[in-house]
Structures are given as structure tokens and as C-alpha cells.
């Protein structure tokens, strides 16, 4: 249908309207918080969408001003914890998915099944015992104390996505390369690694999103700036003074943490879509 090429005027109008509707649907709340982030305190109350006199002061407050300590530390925590958790998850999941796709061993289904079970686990059920345990063994409010539970979020989806991906790799290529005279390692590196990399990379992005999105672990297992990630910091942010709602500052911070994610999405949309749907639909 899409390949019919020429559209009648009516069809073109229809498509334009539909596209605009979808764009507005997807982007409107983002636009709203973006607009809010440029409002002055006086502007906030005037019930209009656009800021009356746009200002950078909210951004200055979180990046250089009073809220700098709160926000930038949280940002550093988020980036560090999320990257480490993603890295560990992707390395372990790559090994695991390789074994599942390539080797025959009893228990493959148990591994995939438990990955599925873990991914539907209610985080809140896990977090309460962890809260108690972490306090006893000193992991409460530390980076490691978040990295470990984040693996319960990132590992299952990484295993599923990568297993689906690795199953489509023509592993015979490796043997063909060996027949052509390459050593086993050369064959693996030249024939398989280039084919596997996009999948590994896609998985890393998806795992990063999921860890970056976490809120429950973040608010439950931290109490200070030592490890509190951005989403939790936003929720507990109380503004410059007791009498002022920190609406503008929170909006600005929300925009700052959203930009890198949206840039990643825009850059790698094709891979993300195929990764998400392969993991879930093709399994």
C-alpha cells in the first residue's frame, strides 16, 4: 500500500492530519515541561502554556546555582551506576545468550524461563528485603547497593534480546572462514563479531534506558546524595526555600536528563525498535 506512490489530494490531507495528530500526541507533554522549565516563578501561576518572559534561571539554578549540589551529584550517580549496571548486564547476557544460541546443554529453557520470570517480578517485593539486608551489611546508600539490584532489571531483557538476536546469526560463516584457512579465533572475530556487535549495542541501549528509568530502587535504597540517582532526587527535591515550589527547577532538571535519552533514541531508533520487538515478539 505504501508503495503505490502517488496520492490523491484527499489522501495526502488525511496523512498530514494523521501525522500531526500522532506528533502532537507524542510530543505535547514534553513540550509542556520544556515550556515550564523556562518560566519565571511569577509566570508559573498565570495558567498559560508558553512562558511570558522566557528565562534560563531554572537551568542556572540546577547547573550552577543553589541546587547544583543536589542535581549534579544525582546526575553523576545516575550516569555512573547506570553505565556500570548496563556494562555488567551486557557482558553477562552476551555470554549467556551465546551459550543459549550456540551450545546444546540441558537447562537452556530454565535459564530463559527464569529470565522471563525475573522480568515480571514486582520490584517493590524485592526492594523491601533488600532495604533491610543492605542496611545490615552496609550496602545501603552506596553505588554497589544500586548496581546489584539494577541487574534484576537489565539482565532478563538483555538475555532475551540477545538470544533472539544471536539465533539469527549464521554461525556456519565461522566454519566457512575456518575452511578458508582462518584460525578459530580469527574466524570468530572476523565472521561473528561484526554480525553480533549491532545486537550487543542495541541491547546495551535498551538496558541503559531501563536502568536510567528506575525509581523504586532509587528512592528505597538510598538516603543521601552518596548514591541517589536523578529520578529519586527529582522526587525529593524541595526547592530553594521552604515557601517556593521548585516547579521550574524540577522541570529544568527533567529536561536535562531527558535530552541525552532522546538523542540516543533519535540516533538509534531503528536498532531500538528491532531490538525491542525481536526480544518480545520473536523471543
Amino acid at each position: 500500500m505504501a508503495s503505490n506512490g502517488k496520492l490523491t489530494g484527499k489522501q495526502r490531507l488525511g496523512w498530514t492530519v494523521l501525522t500531526i495528530v500522532v506528533l502532537v500526541y507524542a510530543l505535547f507533554p514534553v513540550a509542556a515541561i520544556l515550556a515550564t522549565s523556562f518560566k519565571t516563578p511569577a509566570d508559573l501561576g498565570n495558567a498559560s502554556f508558553l512562558p511570558g518572559s522566557p528565562t534560563w534561571e531554572n537551568y542556572e539554578m540546577i547547573l550552577f546555582g543553589d541546587a547544583q549540589g543536589l542535581f549534579l551529584t544525582a546526575l553523576r550517580n545516575s550516569i555512573g551506576i547506570t553505565l556500570i549496571a548496563t556494562f555488567i548486564a551486557v557482558v553477562l547476557a552476551t555470554l549467556c545468550a551465546y551459550a543459549i544460541a550456540r551450545l546444546d546443554f540441558p537447562g537452556k529453557k530454565i535459564i530463559l524461563g527464569s529470565a522471563l520470570a525475573v522480568s515480571v517480578f514486582p520490584v517493590i517485593s524485592v526492594v523491601i528485603p533488600l532495604f533491610n539486608l543492605w542496611r545490615n551489611i552496609g550496602l545501603y546508600d552506596t553505588w554497589l547497593g544500586l548496581i546489584i539490584p539494577y541487574l534484576s532489571l537489565t539482565l532478563p531483557i538483555s538475555i532475551w534480546t540477545l538470544a533472539a538476536f544471536f539465533r539469527q546469526i549464521p554461525w556456519d560463516l565461522e566454519q566457512a572462514a575456518q575452511v578458508d584457512g582462518a584460525t578459530q579465533w580469527q574466524a570468530f572475530r572476523r565472521a561473528i563479531v561484526p554480525l553480533a556487535m549491532p545486537g550487543v549495542f542495541t541491547t546495551a541501549i535498551i538496558a541503559f534506558f531501563i536502568a536510567w528509568n528506575d525509581f523504586v530502587y532509587g528512592i528505597s535504597l538510598t538516603s543521601t546524595e552518596a548514591a541517589r540517582p536523578v529520578p529519586a532526587a527529582l522526587a525529593f527535591f524541595t526547592g530553594a526555600s521552604q515557601f517556593e515550589e521548585p516547579t521550574g527547577a524540577i522541570s529544568a532538571a527533567a529536561i536535562v536528563v531527558t535530552i541525552p535519552v532522546v538523542v540516543l533514541v533519535l540516533l538509534f531508533q531503528r536498532q531500538i525498535v528491532s531490538g525491542l520487538t525481536q526480544g518480545a515478539v520473536k523471543g
Binding site: 507533554p29 515541561i33 555470554l95 540441558p106 539486608l133 575452511v179 584460525t183 525509581f215 516547579t247
Partner: protein, 336 residues
């Protein structure tokens, strides 16, 4: 010499085909005799797949076991010395509390049913639009709908909260002409409006995921079937109900199950927007507030065990009801 390992592996693969159906069974295709090669492959398999498996178990199975254990005690962190074994007392307390527990359960179910239903319809519409759109528009649409997916739930919750908030929102100003919306309407002060906004933000955030799954499902519907039905004079509605939807069953089931489980665990947006006020408390929030808020570990653990059981029940019902075999999807589900 490099070709030497090739032949045995081929044979192994063929043997694997028959053993895949019962992986835990000792009887493999080759008559119960496990060759050394199979053994070493199994060892290697567990060696490299094992770490991920055991970490997953350690971070979930252990805590849930601990939660079950803790739920049998009367245990407050504020008075750790008074810890005592009360068996099912905590569960009795919770299950007899219609004001708090049953209300939270009903609210959670309401959110689950409404959001999944709306998302399924909206997501299917979006998927159809993307499926039929011209290549150029399709890219733009996909990019746009990935934005809500990429945004963290807390940010989305704040965006929706500020839009409707009586102090900083513009919705009352914009939609004053709609009956029922006054400039002084406080959306988060009563249950109906508050839960609507909470569900709206949830729907906005996660419909893209459903749409992408359904789009992948649409792509798997064989074109010949659609064409054939057209030649046979099927109308649009008949095409949908007879050809397209039945062929997307797997994708629809997966989407519904995953979203239902996700919606049932809703937490972030409720925490941000109302923190349970106006009767919007959901199960996750109840568990959080009981244990981490009030430090009643015993009671809170019992709530989280109940939540866990509910999630298990949803899984069982979905898998039995829809007859989806998720575990076997690894072999063949997408292979239509």
C-alpha cells in the same frame, strides 16, 4: 584439521533437535548415552550462561524468600527487639482491611484494566498508521513515538502533573469552555480526576511500546493472505477480524500480558502526582509506605508477598487463558 570439529557438531545439532523438547531430561536422542562431547558442551554452556542465571536468582529469589519469611513476623525497624513470630497474623490484618488493602487492590485493578484496554486500541491504531504510512512519514512517526518510550516515568509524571496542577497548570485555562472544567478545578483533589490523569500519563508513556509490538506483529501477517482476502471481496472489517487479527494473536497476547503485569506494578506516577492521596493508593505504593515509610517490615513484607502472588496469578491466567506458551516461543513462535 580445522574441519575436524565440523562433522560432530553437525550431528550434535541434529541430536539437539529432538532433545530440545525436554531439555532437563537425561534421555537424549542418542539412546540415553551422553557422549563426552555432549557433557563438555553442557559444562561449557553452564559455565558461560551460569553467572547471569545465578545473579538473576540471587537478586530476586533470595529477596522474595526473605520477604515471605519476614511476613510471618511482627517486626518494626523502630522496635527491633520486639520482633516476634506471628505466623499469618499480618496477612489476616491486611486481608481484613477493606479501607486500605482492598481499596488499593481495586484501584490497581482498575488502572490495569483501563490502561491496557485503552493502550491496546490506541496502540493498534498507531501501529496501523505506521504500517500503512509512506516510508518518509513512517520514520518520523517512529521517532516521535519513541520519545515517550525514552522519557523516564518520573519525568513524564512531572510533565502531566504540572500541566494539570492548580498552581502551575494551563489546562484549566485552556479548556475552561469544556463543561466541568473551572479555573479552580483541583484535578488531584478527588479520586475520579486524579486517577484519570495518572492513567493518562501511564497510557501516554507506554502506548508506544504496544504500538511497536503490534507493528512487528502486523509485519508478520503474510501479504498473500491479505491480498487473497481482498480478491475474494472481503471488506476492511472482515480483513481485520478474519485475516489480520488472527495472524497477530501472538503479538497481541505478548503485548497484553507484559503491559498488564507492568500496569499492575504501577508506582512512579502515583508517587509523584498524589502519593496516594485522594484514594489513589495502589498496591506497590501501599507496600512501600508500610515498610520503607513506616518501617513496619513484617506487615510491608506481607503486602509485597500478596503483590507477588497477584502478579503470578495474572501470569497463570494469561498463559492458561490465552494458551500462550511463552517459554517455547524461543524455538518457533515468530517463525510463521
Amino acid at each position: 584439521m580445522t574441519t575436524a570439529p565440523e562433522t560432530p557438531r553437525r550431528q550434535k545439532r541434529e541430536a539437539a533437535g529432538s532433545s530440545a523438547a525436554r531439555p532437563a531430561s537425561r534421555k537424549n536422542g542418542n539412546g540415553g548415552k551422553r557422549t563426552n562431547r555432549a557433557k563438555s558442551e553442557a559444562r561449557l554452556g553452564w559455565l558461560i550462561a551460569g553467572p547471569a542465571f545465578f545473579i538473576m536468582l540471587a537478586v530476586t529469589a533470595y529477596p522474595i524468600a526473605q520477604a515471605i519469611y519476614d511476613s510471618l513476623f511482627s517486626f518494626r525497624l523502630t522496635a527491633p527487639d520486639e520482633r516476634s513470630f506471628v505466623f499469618l497474623q499480618n496477612y489476616m490484618t491486611i486481608l481484613s482491611d477493606t479501607e486500605v488493602f482492598w481499596r488499593a487492590l481495586l484501584v490497581t485493578l482498575l488502572v490495569t484494566v483501563v490502561t491496557v484496554a485503552v493502550e491496546l486500541v490506541l496502540g493498534f491504531g498507531l501501529a496501523l498508521v505506521m504500517h500503512k504510512a509512506l516510508k518518509r512519514i513512517r520514520g518520523a512517526l517512529r521517532t516521535a513515538i519513541l520519545v515517550p518510550y525514552g522519557i523516564i516515568t518520573v519525568v513524564s509524571a512531572f510533565a502531566w502533573y504540572y500541566m494539570f496542577d492548580i498552581n502551575s497548570g494551563f489546562v484549566n485555562g485552556w479548556f475552561g469552555w469544556v463543561p466541568g472544567i473551572d479555573s479552580d478545578l483541583d484535578w488531584f483533589a478527588n479520586f475520579g480526576t486524579a486517577i484519570t490523569i495518572i492513567m493518562a500519563s501511564e497510557i501516554w508513556k507506554t502506548t508506544p511500546f504496544i504500538a511497536l509490538l503490534l507493528l512487528a506483529g502486523l509485519a508478520q501477517v503474510p501479504d498473500e493472505l491479505v491480498e487473497a482476502s481482498k480478491v475474494d471481496g472481503a471488506r476492511w472489517r472482515q480483513q481485520m477480524t478474519r485475516v489480520i487479527l488472527p495472524n497477530m494473536k501472538a503479538a497481541i497476547m505478548v503485548a497484553v500480558l507484559f503491559r498488564a503485569l507492568d500496569a499492575f506494578r504501577i508506582f512512579d506516577n502515583v508517587f509523584i502526582m498524589t502519593n496516594g492521596a485522594a484514594g489513589t493508593e495502589v498496591l506497590s505504593l501501599l507496600a512501600y509506605r508500610t515498610s520503607i515509610g513506616r518501617l513496619e517490615i513484617g506487615l510491608g513484607s506481607a503486602v509485597s508477598v500478596i503483590l507477588f502472588i497477584c502478579v503470578l496469578l495474572i501470569c497463570v491466567i494469561a498463559i492458561k487463558g490465552f494458551k500462550v506458551d511463552l517459554a517455547s516461543g524461543t524455538d518457533s513462535k515468530g517463525g510463521k
